[in-house]
Symmetry: C2
Amino acid sequence: MKKYVFGVDVGGTTIKMGLFDLNANVLEKWEIKSITANGGERILPDIAESVQNKLKELDIEEDEVAGIGIGVPGPVDAAGTIYKTANLGWDTVFNIPEAFQKYLNLPVMAGNDANVAALGEMWQGGGKGYKDLVVVTLGTGVGGGIICNGQMVTGAGGAAGEIGHIHVEDNETEECGCHNIGCLEQYASATGIARLARKRLAKDDADSVLRGREISAKSVFDAVKFGDKVAIEVAERFGEYLGKGLAAIAGVVNPEVFVIGGGVSKAGEILFEYIRPYYMQYAFRSCRDAAFALATLGNDAGIFGAAKLILDRV
Amino acid sequence: MKKYVFGVDVGGTTIKMGLFDLNANVLEKWEIKSITANGGERILPDIAESVQNKLKELDIEEDEVAGIGIGVPGPVDAAGTIYKTANLGWDTVFNIPEAFQKYLNLPVMAGNDANVAALGEMWQGGGKGYKDLVVVTLGTGVGGGIICNGQMVTGAGGAAGEIGHIHVEDNETEECGCHNIGCLEQYASATGIARLARKRLAKDDADSVLRGREISAKSVFDAVKFGDKVAIEVAERFGEYLGKGLAAIAGVVNPEVFVIGGGVSKAGEILFEYIRPYYMQYAFRSCRDAAFALATLGNDAGIFGAAKLILDRV
């Protein structure tokens, strides 16, 4: 009888692993190193070995394990095929579940880490109870995961949810890291918010608690909470760009809720005060009911979502 | 044994009906009137009666029918619940399959007409062979249908695919019909193309075969084929806006193909020459492989897609 499932979240430096029962309880959580040398050849066998060690340690039989879900930082399609990912040294196109069978003969499902994290937030996080959601990660960049009718959307080449490069400003002059101009990421990521703040401060000599401090998304939103007018102007611009971007997304998938995560989301629900009015302005009428919620699983979203990949098939 | 399926496409003036075998062959195609008076109370019973008449006429038993798929012009969620649609006089929220059982006890599935038409194009039209597609209808307005991994995306409130109101121009001054400013529909619909052409012609007195003629999407693209420079400028602007809008959509669902239908698509593959370069410019790297194809089912896309709704469940 199946009693357990593993959720694995592969990153460039560590691999997070979780052992769950079938009722969504995390029984154990640990990490192993991610060794990306030699084309990342050790990643899958290291995961297999760590799973086997855990089974031995806890005296669990292989046939009690429903499977292993794996999230990886790269484009993965619905069949678990990965289209290269420099982050892990993987430079070929291959099917992760098939490749994994060489090391351990258990059912495997794989997905892109952001998409898998979105599944985790739907299952046990900020999106719990919803079936149509968009999880937006505001970190160094802007990432996304799309869930439609309870199913993760991968896209043809595993690039669904790459919302950071949606064009949101026609009058931008600086380039995004992707070489386009006017991408959402240039305004709504942690680095984007800091960029907006630096540009605003340089514009004139208006008083601001931000002057002379390290400029970051955190210091900007701390200053907003303090009532700093310059910081509030920056938050308004952040909110307009993100609201406009989310409105475009809503025109495609009409989510019930936007779940906001990543480092920037630590500012809390105050973010919604700046995003929602612009979302309402730009969104098509029938999409304006969407709720806004904060992600709650933090760095564990990946292992939760990976476990859920398997549980959806049990 | 199940041998047949009905596909029904409900419009504001006529209801198109099709009888299919399970191998996608249309056996019969006919239309009945759409009577929207009295809150559209006759629409479902009229469909039921027409189905029963057809069964009698062809001597088909009810238990040989796998079901009836119905597409309607309004927001329908994954369960077949419709959220009001002025087009049919329906002013309450109700579940179409449940409501239909009162008149005829056969399995029913329902969906939004644009989404259902997209399913039809995937099944037997311009999107045949693809599983991740976006069907774009360029008519009086701009509509869309999204298919991810072979499944129709409805959205939480049935408004997925409402791509006509994605914001694509920050510097617009005229209002869209939805009261927003800078919507895709203002540039890429038949009326939008005519609007762009009229504005271009008014700008100066450059020679153009369009002068003194009726301005329409058709006359613009006819003039483009004739090499008319002013018309080509208009086509470039159309292509930029649509390319930019499709790039935003690609950042959400990463389709394998965009299938272009609606009246404007009668211009043919020449449209792609104007859309594709701008799509490539604005789309995120991993989404640039998307193909472009023309819709092929025309007005029959709806009955095909409606039949497919049932066949997916047989």
